[in-house]
């Protein structure tokens, strides 16, 4: 489909003064697409120019339409010297290329300069006309929709989930080309911005092609990343999940998919899903442990790069201790293979086989989604992850990025094999990341091994609703996913299994770690909370291979430590599952940083966690008083946390837990040392009741430190909760308050001789202090929850640690929550299924929507979200016209004023009178041409309010339209750092500018919110001695139109048309 791109430049405002003499600017605009450039006339001597240009038309291939951005440059005309650039606007026209998204881009865009930041705004209208051309060999993929959201988008229905798509493109980084030595920083930055924009366009197009090949029409969970490899080049890579999506007619209530809408209480509507997973005999599921080949290090053969170091390792092991006294679980009737004699059995098996084969045919049965339609996820095995250390070399042939492809291929293979070892055929919540320092690069991938429902995989069985019901016995949907998927005789790792505390029929692990969101149907007790493990490890400075070896040697230890910390902190909070686990390992010249974040939760299907027990290595090693005081503190903390997170799991009589509990009392031990000290363990039985306890052994001061560090994690202050997942376990009644924020902190380690312990402390404090700052700043929103807390760590230079956090604070209704939690414990045992049948199964769609509605009704839903989109922009055109006539009159007036000081005659006065009265009635008129900047906008703000959130939803609202993906890359540089307020001032204004540009683009598309927003990259470099700094930021998200839940459809449509219409007229006049 070749197309015609049309752009019109309407006006500018707030332009900077470019001509010192007159304090004015002679601005004109260049509009460039591909190799074609158009220019507007010069609008002389104005800071608020009105160009009102003709339509500039570009006739282009759709391939170019997808790759290229529209480039708008605003310049100051200079008769005698070169024209000065004021700034640029890049407009990604991709959203115009598919019919369901935006139809026009129209609005005010900030004019951005990489050296000066935002300098005024420009009003632009862009349209695209596509012609149909069914070329079989086409290279474009117009029409494929992209979503950053990691669940099925709200107003769509997934009829088929095709699976994993990935692609990467490489290029030389303009910053490192020879020409960079002779060009200005501005030119270099712009070259880079443009290149990255082109590359991401190309990448998106190529992924789109793959999707079309697979028969899909959309990519969900699209994750695009940049690797700035420095000398060796620039890599842009992306992964996503190809799907076939059906648009729900806008009138219909949100359908089943919205079950995943986190608005709906995880527990409360657990059952409107006609899910049928439960009973699966074969797969019972278990802990997080990832299997993984026993050898943590495996040299992977790579063709190109010098020495391949690939210490990839399953990341989360339940407990890495060697001797969990776990004996073989007595075999019950539900062994592997054996289908427990239900009539559904054979069918199931058949189905399973189908799925398995369907999935196995795929190279990578991976899904970047983190939440799923109910029933999609049958069982969860645990976290699987792989890391590999590589040495970068120059990318010789950008068109054949084979090396990088091969690297990722290896990692994915490994993930796949880990998943298989866990008895799973798929990996969900999959993501990939890199950390680069000089020429060393750590590639990481992680996901959650899982067994999926075949329905979504098979063609011809698209109806999500109820077809499968007939041969699947409805089983407790709220525990099914916890059942272990692997064969308990061949457990891939030591784990302790018990019968599910819900259905009592299947085995569950004692702890579950996953990278996905808490399934909406899961039954939880109390609230969740953010759990972080933080770790620093010093490393010797080294070059090349030696460096890579050192890093790969350190990695397994770091993973182990992080895992131990997570486990301890989880127990300390009396929880038994982690969701949204994300482990980041960042490499610097002389240290490695590890940060694991997850949301802890108490799953009622899993056994209650045991306490933590402290033991001295040898009795008398440390005074027993000391130990018992620590023990007491720990026990107190656990008690306090139970209270805090309202964890009151349904009390179950120990006897009730089905007979064959493998080992009623065993404990897993965690040893600090390798000494064979298990026998010497002092048998302090301080554990909670009969529950199994986790033993921490104190054998040296390090251990004491570690325990202290466990305890210093301050709980959030009253009124605050935090999590890093989409939905907060235990809170669902959101009110309308939403505040997205980004915070960056860089710490300089001045002390040269730091130990690992010291560093750990510093790093932990850094993270804790950040959280404290957030709580303090957002205290006006109490009661509130920080959701989707996303921490990113980096070591930009030696001795610098950078932590970047993006999150959203959302208010909720406290009263409601309490009620809810109060009633929650009722859901217990087998009663649950029936209880929840109060939501009729067949009405699942309705029930979910009514749920949402009640929630929002109670919360008194947000007027703030409900801004009138019609208040959108200003009517500049007509204003200009009126101004010009007024200008003459005013000029006349000014003249008389100048002359007539005292001696003005009566006549002038009366003129003045009449003018003034006129002025009164039209507030548009202002005295001077300079002040044309309008005072009219007061009252109704002329700027559309755009909300941003890293979540896939906005509380109290419903998304009625996805307008396209936002994917922007900015560079900002300064050579006057001090004058801009130092590094903090510089970065503060840059981040504010990035937000402003994102909002402007969304508003121009006709949207009023960005969901699934994320800041993928924030690379900050400074050179205070030279008074310079540079920063790169990459952000992405989905532009949407959302309306208040309480609004009726009618208002939705008017809002919609009103908005686009409004913005159109505002430009067109």
């Amino acid at each position: 489909m070749p197309g015609k791109l049309k752009a019109k430049i309407v006006a500018g405002r707030h332009l900077p003064v470019m001509d010192r003499a007159s304090d004015l600017t002679d601005a004109f605009v260049e509009v460039k697409f591909g190799n074609t450039t158009f220019k507007t006339d010069v609008c002389p001597k104005s800071l608020n120019p009105q160009w009102n240009s003709e339509w500039f038309k570009f006739e282009v291939d759709d391939e170019d339409l997808q790759d290229e951005p529209l480039q708008i440059t605003v310049l100051d005309h200079d008769t005698y010297s070169a024209n000065d650039a004021i700034g640029k606007v890049y407009i990604d026209i991709d959203p115009l290329l598919y019919s369901e998204a935006a139809s026009v881009i129209s609005g005010w865009f900030p004019i951005y300069d990489t050296i000066h930041g935002i300098r005024g705004e420009i009003n632009v209208i862009v349209k695209v006309e596509l012609f149909n051309d069914l070329n079989r060999f086409r290279q474009s993929s117009c029409g494929v929709k992209f979503f950053c959201t990691t669940c099925i988008p709200q107003c769509y229905r997934a009829t088929l989930v095709h699976g994993f798509v990935e692609e990467l493109v490489v290029n030389e980084d303009p910053e490192y080309q020879w020409i960079d030595r002779i060009r200005t920083p501005r030119a270099s930055n712009e070259a880079r911005q443009r290149l990255i924009s082109l590359m991401s366009g190309e990448l998106q197009r190529k992924i789109g092609l793959k999707v079309l090949e697979m028969g899909g029409n959309a990519v969900v969970g699209y994750l695009q990343c940049f690797d700035l490899e420095g000398e060796s080049g620039l890599v842009v890579r992306a992964i996503g999940t190809a799907c076939t999506l059906d648009k729900l007619s806008s009138g219909s209530a949100p359908n089943t998919n919205t079950h995943m809408h986190p608005n709906t209480a995880p527990a409360s509507n657990a059952c409107n899903s006609p899910s049928k997973d439960g009973k699966e005999p074969v797969f019972v599921e278990d802990l997080p442990s990832s299997s993984g080949p026993p050898t943590p290090f495996r040299a992977l053969p790579t063709s190109s790069s010098p020495p391949p170091f690939s210490p990839s390792k399953p990341c989360s092991r339940q407990s890495s201790s060697s001797d969990t006294d776990l004996s073989l679980t007595p075999k019950t009737g539900m062994g592997s293979g054996g289908s427990a004699g239900k009539e559904a059995g054979p069918l199931r098996t058949l189905l399973r086989q189908q799925t398995q084969t369907a999935l196995e045919q795929r190279e990578f049965p991976f899904f970047t989604l983190t939440s799923f339609p109910p029933g999609f996820l049958l069982h969860v095995g645990g976290v699987v992850s792989a890391r590999s250390v590589k040495l970068l070399d120059r990318i010789h042939n950008p068109d054949e990025p084979e090396t990088r492809d091969a690297w990722w291929e290896e990692i994915r293979q490994e993930i796949k094999s880990h998943a298989r070892a866990l008895g799973c055929h798929a990996v969900v919540g999959y993501s990939e990341s890199t950390s680069i320092c000089e020429e060393v690069c750590i590639l990481s991938a992680s996901g959650t091994a899982a067994i999926l429902n075949p329905r979504y995989m098979r063609e011809g069985c698209l109806d999500i609703g109820c077809t499968d019901h007939r041969f699947e016995e409805p089983s407790p949907p709220n525990c099914g996913f916890c059942h272990i998927p692997y064969d308990e005789l061949n457990m891939p790792f030591p784990a302790q299994l018990t019968y599910c505390y819900h259905c009592r029929r299947q085995k569950v692990p004692d702890v579950l770690f996953t990278t996905i969101d808490l399934p909406s149907e899961a039954a939880v007790a109390g609230k969740g909370c953010l759990i972080q493990a933080r770790l620093c490890r010093l490393k010797k400075k080294a070059q090349g291979e030696a460096n890579a070896t050192a890093i790969s040697n350190l990695l397994p230890f770091m993973e182990y430590e992080l895992h131990t910390q997570l486990m301890n902190k989880l127990k300390l909070r009396s929880m038994n599952a982690l969701f949204g686990l994300h482990i980041q390992i960042s490499v610097g010249e002389n240290m490695l940083l590890g940060l694991a974040s997850a949301t802890g939760v108490y799953l009622t299907a899993l056994p209650a966690p045991g306490g933590i027990q402290i033991a001295g290595k040898t009795p008398g090693d440390l005074s027993s008083e000391h130990i018992s005081s620590i023990q007491k503190r720990i026990n107190d903390t656990i008690a306090v946390n139970k209270e805090l997170y309202q964890i009151n799991p349904p009390e179950l009589a120990e006897e009730g837990v089905g007979s064959p509990i493998p080992e009623p009392r065993h404990r897993s031990r965690l040893f600090r040392s390798h000494s064979e000290s298990s026998d010497e363990l002092s048998e302090l039985d301080l554990s909670h009741g009969k529950k199994d306890a986790f033993v921490l052994e104190i054998d040296d001061t390090d251990a004491v430190e570690d325990i202290h560090s466990l305890l210093i994690d301050a709980p959030p202050p009253t009124g605050f909760y935090s999590c890093n997942t989409e939905n907060m376990p235990g809170i669902s009644n959101w009110t309308s308050g939403v505040q997205m924020f980004t915070s960056v902190r860089v710490l300089r380690l001045s002390n040269a001789n730091l130990t690992n312990q010291g560093l750990n402390k510093i790093f932990t404090d850094l993270c804790e202090n950040l959280l404290k700052s957030f709580y303090f700043k957002l205290r006006s929103m109490i009661p509130c929850c920080l959701c989707h807390l996303n921490f990113t760590v980096a070591v930009p230079e030696e001795e610098l640690i950078q932590v970047t956090v993006t999150a959203v604070a959302m208010t909720y209704d406290k009263e409601q929550t309490q009620e809810k939690t109060a009633e929650k414990p009722i859901n217990k045992g087998s009663l649950e299924a029936e209880e929840q049948l109060q939501f009729p199964l067949e009405l699942c769609a309705d029930s979910s929507s009514s749920n949402i509605q009640t929630a929002s009704k109670i919360s008194g839903v947000g007027e703030s979200t409900n801004m009138s989109p019609r208040a959108a922009s200003v009517d500049y055109g007509s204003f200009a016209d009126r101004c010009s006539t007024w200008l003459e009159l005013l000029r006349l007036k000014a003249h008389t004023i100048r002359r007539g000081s005292v001696k003005t005659s009566r006549r002038t006065q009366s003129l003045a009178h009449s003018v003034s009265s006129l002025e009164r009635c039209s507030p548009l008129q202002e005295g001077r041409s300079r002040s044309l900047r309008s005072s009219r906008s007061f009252g109704g703000s002329s700027v559309t309010v755009v909300k941003m959130t890293p979540l896939s939803f906005l509380p109290g609202t419903r998304i009625i339209k996805y307008l396209g993906i936002i994917n922007m890359f900015f560079i900002r540089e300064t050579t006057s750092l001090r004058e801009e307020g130092g590094v903090s001032g510089f970065l503060h204004s840059f981040i504010a500018e990035v937000f402003a540009m994102v909002r402007a683009h969304v508003a121009a598309l006709g949207g009023n919110a960005v969901v699934s927003y994320s800041m993928k990259e924030c690379v900050f470099m400074e050179n205070p001695n030279k008074n310079q700094a540079q920063c790169l930021i990459n952000v992405s998200g989905d532009a949407v139109i959302c309306i208040s839940e309480t609004d009726q459809e009618s208002s939705a449509s008017t809002a919609n048309t009103g908005q686009t219409g409004g913005s159109e007229t505002d430009g067109a006049t």
Partner: protein, 332 residues
């Protein structure tokens, strides 16, 4: 180990009104932190001093970035950089343009020039308003003055529209601008007892009754025609002068003041004249405010009795203002 960089940016700009006030009052970051600590904000969220410092710095930076926009408040509504809810915008503007009465009393009637700006440190010392705050207030006066100077139309309305201020604040600014433009003398010792609000009230009277609105032609707008005729009153009012000894002087005083209004230079002394020629004599005679009111009312009305007096309208217009000014100014 030190924090090299620390920023927090919200999609909706977060602003604490308390910190904003501290910033406006010219506190340094450290002083502001101290004030906040004393205010007990730390207890609210288990905050530490570091947290408070970091928060204060963030907010100060935000305010500094906003300051540019606050200089032309209309921009604040359609700028894209900060997403600030409208009610917050109003608060920001209103507080930014708020001023200390003690400070403005010092500069009232002075030329808003560089010279005056140089003396701000003295004023700062005298009024114990921080220098930073003095500068902001002074620059605000100047900015408003500059913008409305060339505008036609009612002064208050112009200020309100351009700077999006509340009615009260716009009126005060109108008074300041009016005083600065006409350079009314307010600094004399005899006038020291008058507060800014007294002057602001008088200015309001003068502006609404004696001008057509714009600052520039204020002087000529003072209805020179009308006032030129006033001297002719002199003879005609003699009829009443017999009433009391002081009456004669007072009446003459008022009429002289009126006559002087035709001359720009003498206009400056309007207030000092009112005090010297009228208020002080009355005060020394221990007139009560009620006496004063009675006297002025009758005095004004009596002119109507004179058949020969042809300038009833002008007389009312003049006396109306003078009367209300004197009421306002007649206190200790």
């Amino acid at each position: 180990m030190s924090v090299e960089l620390d920023v927090f940016v919200g999609n909706t700009t977060i602003m604490d009104e308390e910190v904003y006030q501290l910033w406006l009052d010219g506190y340094t970051v450290n002083d502001a932190v101290k004030v906040r600590m004393e205010g007990g904000v730390m207890d609210e969220c288990e905050a530490s001093k570091d947290v408070l410092l970091s928060d204060t710095m963030d907010q100060y930076r935000t305010f500094q970035m906003c300051e540019r926009l606050l200089h032309s408040p209309a921009k604040l509504a359609n700028q894209l950089l900060f997403q600030i809810p409208p009610h917050r915008q109003i608060m920001l503007i209103e507080r930014y343009y708020a001023f200390d009465d003690t400070f403005v009393r010092e500069v009232l009637g002075k030329k808003l020039s560089k010279g005056t700006k140089k003396d701000l440190d003295d004023i700062s010392a005298k009024t114990s308003v921080t220098l930073k705050s003095c500068r902001r207030q002074f620059d605000n006066f100047k900015r408003v003055f500059k913008v409305v100077e060339e505008l036609k139309g009612p002064l208050v309305e112009n200020i309100r529209q351009h700077f999006l201020l509340s009615d009260k604040l716009a009126r005060d600014y109108a008074a300041i601008v009016f005083f600065a433009n006409n350079r009314f003398e307010t600094g004399k010792r005899k006038l020291q007892y008058l507060s800014f609000q007294d002057f602001a009230f008088c200015a309001g009277q003068l502006i609404s009754n004696w001008t057509v609105g714009a600052v520039d032609n204020m002087v000529e707008d003072m209805d020179e025609h009308a006032f030129q005729t006033l001297p002719s009153l002199r003879g005609k009012t003699k009829v009443f002068i017999e009433m009391e000894g002081s009456f004669k002087n007072l009446s003459r005083g008022l009429i002289n003041i009126a006559a002087k209004l035709t001359n720009t230079k003498d206009v400056r002394d309007f207030f000092i004249d009112l005090v010297e020629k009228f208020i002080e004599p009355c005060r020394s005679d221990r007139w009560s405010a009620a006496d004063m009111k009675l006297y002025l009312t009758h005095y004004t009305n009596s002119a109507h009795i004179l058949d020969t007096f042809k300038h009833q309208v002008v007389w009312d217009r003049y006396m109306g203002v003078v009367k209300s000014c004197i009421f306002k100014m007649y206190h200790d």
